[in-house]
């Protein structure tokens, strides 16, 4: 801590905001000054670099790599030339044969925009005009591990802070009783916690996790519940805090002790608030039905999406929902993708409907996608291999243009060729929508200023309203 910062810390509230959890990350914006730290609520509303279009993000991570040519990227030539040889070189280090395999599913156009969406996603059809579909994504990493880390941290090989950590560092939370960054059922492998970790950013910006590997599990936060009556615990807390205050009195002044004292108050508030937010049974039956809660096929993912909406509503800044590593159809494309779509289509459509009806879609950015797409060429007899060279992701709300299909892959849906959007560009764009300039959100570590987009990234201004 610098001398100046230490002197500042004599104002304990300010110090608390800097060192306590819940991602009071306005330090990132220290240079922007005018920090509106409202002493009463303890919430810092930092000044953005430019007006924000989105206040929060819900990232729907399709772990394993969904196939663009079977969901959003309609390619008539692929359909016509089924079984023929790919007329150009396939990417290196893959197991697929250079033989084209058509999509087993029909595509049709939807909404006023006439967006192409396959028959696998009938619920999403209704939201065709809300979607901003980027068909020209490309990324780094031919294997899951690299590509998953690339998507989450902007690096396919080095340990770097995750997108959510950067955002909670940059913007903090909207609700002091809840963490800024929550990851629901995050992947356990392929980088695991690195994908929601802070690397060298302060630990307080890491995600609070619920469940893992695509499964909601108990749906609770670790150590949130004491098993004691809250009243009994309050009595215990009173004793604790009085001992701590004795300690502080002997120390006369100590920012760390003050920070610890405040952390118990925060925890106590979180214990009161979070269980309420986590309890999806509080939702009306109609809403539960909309998502597909209680329906065996959709129940797991429905609960996760519904939880995400409750978190968003309660002020969590960055929420990620992940499927398990289920999209990786090296074989059995038909069965695999049909099952995955059956399980996620309705909950995702419901999330959009629900956000929209609450007026929240306007300032909530929803992002959908996997770590890469899949090859239009066949692996084995009925599978597709990894394809970071070209794939589809979509965004909705949060200042993105609905009903827009942006960019193109080649005629077979293999390589992104037109208006290419790299993963770095996607990250830059997400930050942009949140009012952050991606090349100004930096953190100094080991002698360097690091940023999410490293030395890359361009905002895709054309997809912003």
């Amino acid at each position: 801590m610098t001398t100046a910062a230490y002197l500042q810390s004599r104002i304990s509230r300010r110090h608390l905001l800097q060192t306590s959890g819940c991602g009071f990350g306005y330090l990132a914006f220290a240079d922007l000054s005018t920090q509106a730290a409202s002493a009463g609520s303890g919430i810092a509303i930092p000044e953005r670099h430019h007006p924000a279009r989105a206040s929060r993000v819900i990232f729907l991570f399709m772990h394993g790599g969904p196939s663009q040519v079977d969901l959003f990227d309609y390619k008539p030539r692929l359909q016509q030339e089924n079984g023929k040889e790919l007329p150009f070189k396939a990417a290196p280090n893959i197991d697929a044969k250079p033989t084209l395999m058509k999509s087993p599913w029909k595509f049709s156009r939807h909404g006023e925009s006439g967006m192409w969406i396959s028959e696998l996603l009938p619920e999403l059809w209704r939201h065709a005009d809300d979607l901003c579909v980027i068909r020209s994504m490309h990324s780094r990493g031919q294997s899951h591990g690299q590509a998953v880390c690339m998507l989450h941290t902007g690096s396919d090989n080095f340990v770097r802070p995750s997108v959510g950590a950067w955002i909670s560092y940059g913007l903090g939370t909207e609700n002091s009783r809840l963490p800024a960054f929550v990851s629901i059922s995050p992947p356990a492998g392929h980088g695991g916690p690195r994908n929601y970790g802070t690397a060298f950013l302060p630990a307080s910006y890491q995600a609070t996790t619920i469940g893992r590997s695509g499964k909601l599990g108990s749906g609770s936060i670790d150590n949130l519940v004491s098993g004691q009556q809250l009243n009994d615990q309050r009595r215990q807390l009173d004793l604790l805090q009085s001992l701590n205050r004795n300690h502080l009195a002997r120390a006369v002044q100590d920012a760390q002790i003050e920070g610890a004292i405040e952390s118990f108050e925060l925890a106590s508030r979180m214990q009161e608030t979070a269980p309420e937010v986590l309890d999806i049974s509080k939702e009306p039956k109609s809403i539960q039905d909309l998502y597909g809660v209680g329906d065996k096929t959709t129940d797991n993912f429905a609960k996760q999406c519904l939880l995400a909406r409750r978190m968003a509503e309660a002020g969590v800044r960055y929420i990620q929902v992940s499927t398990g590593n289920v999209w990786d159809q090296h074989s059995g494309l038909r069965e695999g993708h049909e099952k995955n779509c059956r399980e996620t289509d309705r909950p995702i459509a419901a999330l959009l409907t629900d956000l929209k009806s609450r007026g929240m879609l306007e300032d909530t950015l929803v992002v959908w996608g996997g770590e890469f797409g899949r090859t239009p060429i066949v692996q084995g007899s009925n599978g597709r291999d990894h394809n970071p060279q070209g794939f589809t992701m979509w965004m909705a709300g949060g200042g993105t243009k609905g009903g827009l299909a942006w960019g193109n892959t080649d005629e077979y849906g293999y390589y992104a060729v037109e208006n290419r959007v790299h993963m770095h560009d996607l990250h830059a764009t997400i930050l942009h929508l949140l009012g952050i300039q991606h090349d100004r959100l930096t953190y100094r570590y080991a002698g360097r200023d690091f940023r999410l987009t490293d030395v890359y990234g361009s905002v895709v201004h054309d997809i912003v309203t």
Binding site: M1, T2, T3, S20, G21, C22, H63, P87, F88, P92, D95, Q142, S143, H144, G145, Q146, V148, N157, V159, A188, G189, G192, P193, R194, G197, P202, A203, S204, R212, S213, G217, D222, L224, S226, G227, Q236, L239, L240, L243, N246, A251, Q253, Q256, A260, S263, F264, A267, D410, Y414, V417, N419, R420, D439, G447, R448, D449, R451, V455, S458, V459
Partner: protein, 826 residues
């Protein structure tokens, strides 16, 4: 040398971060809105055009060139569109209008100057421009603006690159205060600033502090009593020597090193393979600190233990084990481009070696000359050649997924016998199974002919199944011959090319293997070109006059005892690191460290017995105003108790701590420590009552207790742990079953002891218990007020129900576990 000069001139614009502004991106986008290449065009460019440009043009017209000739860069699309001094080089679609074509035809300029291109190549270029010159190279320009060189000679003037020399202790006014020369250095600076050192911490505070600092454990009541009763002048020395001699010293100090060595029991990263044998290194580190292995030797063994002479088999094993240091970084094992993977591993090693031993951030120089320190890219690749000539990865566990080297260790006779017996038993079982199967086949055949059900055949079928299961079980219980994760020399040894911008696809010139020029007096190159160079690198880092090695280590020791390093940026002694607060003291300690034969224990002992260490954390308004960061050490820093010690101390006071050393904590895990399908978390189920050092450090699945309390991230070198105050810690202390369990056990233990000793009424007993509890948990005697606070609490819980007494005390103890006093060292 010429090569290095050339390379230092290559300063790339795209810095590690922040180099590209939004404005540049905007220009970028504006020049790029023309047609994107199609896949065919892309293929054409990649296979035909790029190689031509790289081979014939890049040396003068790209980021790689010393200066861009004629201002023309052919490094990317924007380069040739803007063109150089003679205007745009290419007019897409119009070869006859393009300067590039007339130049290669030797019609306007004569390019390349070394000799005219073959006609076929000129035709290819013409064809490409006809196509519209599709060019995918749209990455931010890396054209050097003002080639800045690195002046190594000037770089050597920086304090950290000057060899440390001992200084005479300065004279001080208050001559009664210093106990050691250390104190003179501290006091002299304080006096110069008209500051007074804080008084000594009271005896129990000092005892708690030193016991945690040296062993990571709490001082027991007996130890407290012994120390309080010892009024001799050597009372403190006795304590320090007792603690230094304790095997728990190595456990605690070994852990400090493991933070730096980014130790883990699994690979983490993309493919979290289990490191079954990493524990051997962990125990080697613990032993090294317990045996006070000279630090220079410790350094040499970790870098090149496999190459050092050994007097015995045991020493050989130990040295081999030390090289696990090079192996345990997180690696992207499933990276399909293996060349890239190898260079990423090399990078991880260079970065770790740089920061761990020298406090230098070398990783920056992978892509360009270090921006702030005199480390040219050539130095990086001089080191890279050494590590690329060392094998870390070997084989694949499944398609595309690499594995690492495991070297067999000598098999002890007992184990050899066990393996033999196991093999014999296996053969026997296999034979029995074959016999049963034969019988079954016969019975089945008979059944087929007779057409009648045969109960004997069913029984046989059952027996075959049983035997098969038995065999499977037997296989699982096979005794494993010991192996160690050890580095070894590569079959092909050689220098490394520079990879431009760190990309394996961009080869530059080859660099001689060697060390950092800025800290080398004479040649920084290897003497023995037929070895990888690790042995020489180890000698070079561990040599007594290396300006960084001793300084960095004594600074770490100082930090671990005093709370802050003399150089606070313990892993960065470069220009972006901090300057030392007491440079002469640091240098004197470093010189003394070398003179002591690199004895860690003797430096620890000296600092621990200094007056400086013994100061209280007393707050002084005036001093605070002058020096709020306590850089001058006018008082002791209040330190955090590290995660392991919090956990260990809870186990210790509850009477559950098991001090025995352990072997592999991950023996029960599969080849993949964590995978995507597992719902249970392996690391969190760690339910050991051994010291936390022995918990499984499974990357991506660290023990929850440790993570919550700021454990060092094993993915990166951590010389100084972060210190956070987050609600997750508060929730853990209030709600976690482990904490509650230890509190309960402590209460039961203390209640049982007090019952055994006293016959008093419960009120008196409670007052006595309050004292005992405070002394056991926070290591001091409570005040009257505190005694009353605790007993009031107990009485309010019990009210009329005396059976709740134990519960009440366990709640009190949990409160103490959660208290700032327990979690900090005053």
């Amino acid at each position: 040398m010429q090569l290095r000069i050339l390379l230092t001139a290559v300063a790339l614009l795209s810095a590690c971060a922040g180099g590209v502004t939004a404005d540049e991106h905007l220009t970028q986008t504006a020049t790029e809105d023309s047609v994107r290449p199609t896949a065919d065009e892309l293929a054409f460019f990649e296979s035909r055009i790029r190689p031509l440009l790289v081979r014939h043009c890049y040396s003068c017209h790209s980021a790689e060139s010393k200066e861009i000739k004629g201002g023309l860069s052919l490094h990317n699309r924007a380069g040739w569109m803007t063109g150089g001094e003679s205007g745009p080089a290419i007019v897409p679609g119009q070869p006859e209008e393009s300067l590039l074509i007339s130049a290669v035809k030797y019609e306007s300029y004569k390019m390349p100057p070394q000799g005219k291109l073959p006609d076929a190549d000129i035709e290819t270029l013409t064809q490409w421009i006809k196509m519209g010159a599709p060019d995918p190279r749209t990455e931010p320009s890396s054209v050097p603006q003002s080639p800045a060189g690195i002046d190594i000679e000037k770089g050597r003037q920086f304090w950290a690159f000057q060899p440390p020399v001992a200084h005479a202790p300065p004279t001080v006014e208050n001559q009664a205060w210093p106990r050691d020369a250390i104190d003179n250095f501290i006091l002299e600076r304080l006096e110069r600033h008209q500051l007074q050192p804080a008084g000594d911490a009271d005896r129990l505070t000092w005892l708690r502090r030193i016991t945690f600092d040296l062993t990571g454990l709490a001082a027991s009541i007996t130890e407290q009593d012994t120390f309080l009763a010892d009024s001799s002048d050597t009372a403190r020395e006795k304590v320090v020597d007792r603690l230094l001699a304790s095997s728990q010293f190595g456990v605690h100090w070994g852990r400090h090193w493991l933070d730096v060595a980014r130790y883990a029991d699994s690979n983490g990263s993309d493919f979290n393979a289990t490191y079954y044998n990493a524990w051997r290194y962990r125990n080697y580190v613990v032993d090294s600190f317990n045996q006070d292995r000279p630090y220079d030797q410790f350094v040499r063994e970790q870098l090149a233990g496999d190459l050092l002479p050994a007097a015995s088999e045991e020493q050989k094993e130990q040295q081999l084990t030390a090289t696990t240091f090079l192996m345990i970084g997180a690696k992207m094992l499933s990276e399909r481009n293996k060349e890239k993977l190898v260079m990423d591993v090399v990078d991880e090693q260079i970065d770790t070696v740089g920061r761990a031993f020298m406090g230098m951030t070398l990783g920056c120089a992978r892509c360009h000359d270090h921006k702030f320190d005199p480390i040219p890219t050539a130095d990086y690749y001089a080191l890279a050649g050494i590590f690329r000539s060392t094998v870390v990865l070997e084989g694949e566990s499944q398609a595309y997924v690499s594995t690492w080297v495991e070297t067999p260790l000598p098999v002890p006779a007992e184990l050899a016998e066990a393996i033999k017996q196991h093999q014999l038993k296996k053969e026997q079982l296999t034979a029995e199974l074959a016999a049963l199967k034969k019988e079954l086949a016969a019975a089945t055949e008979q059944k087929a002919t007779s057409g009648q059900a045969d109960p004997a055949a069913d029984a046989l079928k059952e027996n075959v199944k049983k035997k098969e299961a038995e065999l499977r079980e037997h296989d699982k219980s096979a005794p494993q011959p010991p192996k160690v994760m050890a580095a070894r020399e590569a079959p092909t040894i050689g220098d490394c090319e520079i990879f431009v911008r760190g990309e394996v696809s961009h080869r530059g010139p080859v660099v001689n293997r060697g060390f950092l020029q800025v800290v080398s007096n004479g040649s920084a190159h290897l003497q023995q070109k037929n070895e990888s160079g690790r042995r020489e690198l180890a000698e070079w880092i561990a040599r007594p006059d290396h300006p960084l090695t001793a300084r960095v280590m004594v600074n770490r020791i100082w930090q671990n005892l005093l709370g802050e390093g003399l150089v606070r940026s313990v892993d960065n002694f470069g220009h972006l690191g901090e300057l030392p607060s007491h440079g002469e003291l640091l240098d004197t300690l470093a010189a003394d460290f070398v003179d002591s034969g690199f004895s860690v224990k003797s430096i620890v002992r000296r600092i621990a017995l200094s007056r400086t260490y013994a100061m209280s954390t007393y707050f002084d308004e005036q001093a605070f105003t002058k020096d709020p960061d306590n850089r001058l050490l006018w008082r002791a820093h209040r330190k955090r108790v590290p995660a392991e010690s919090l956990r260990d101390a809870m186990l210790q006071v509850s009477g559950s701590l098991d001090l025995t050393a352990a072997e592999s904590p991950v023996a029960n895990l599969g080849a993949l420590a964590v995978d995507n399908s597992k719902q249970a978390s392996s690391g969190q189920s760690a339910n050991s009552s051994r010291r936390s050092l022995y918990l499984p450090i499974v990357r991506n699945e660290l023990p929850a207790f440790l993570v919550v309390f700021d454990f060092a991230d094993p993915d990166i070198v951590t010389g100084r742990r972060p210190e956070t105050n987050v609600p997750a810690q508060a929730m853990f202390l209030m709600n976690n079953p482990f904490v509650k369990e230890q509190a309960k056990r402590t209460a039961e233990r203390l209640l049982a002891e007090s019952r055994a000793e006293t016959e008093q009424d419960s009120e008196t007993a409670d007052l006595q218990l309050a004292e005992m509890v405070m002394r056991v948990v926070v290591g001091r005697v409570p005040t009257e007020t505190e005694r009353k606070q605790l007993t009031d609490y107990v009485q309010s819980v019990c009210q009329d129900d005396a059976s709740r007494r134990s519960q009440a005390w366990s709640e009190v103890i949990q409160v103490l576990f959660a208290s700032t006093e327990f979690r900090m060292l005053d």
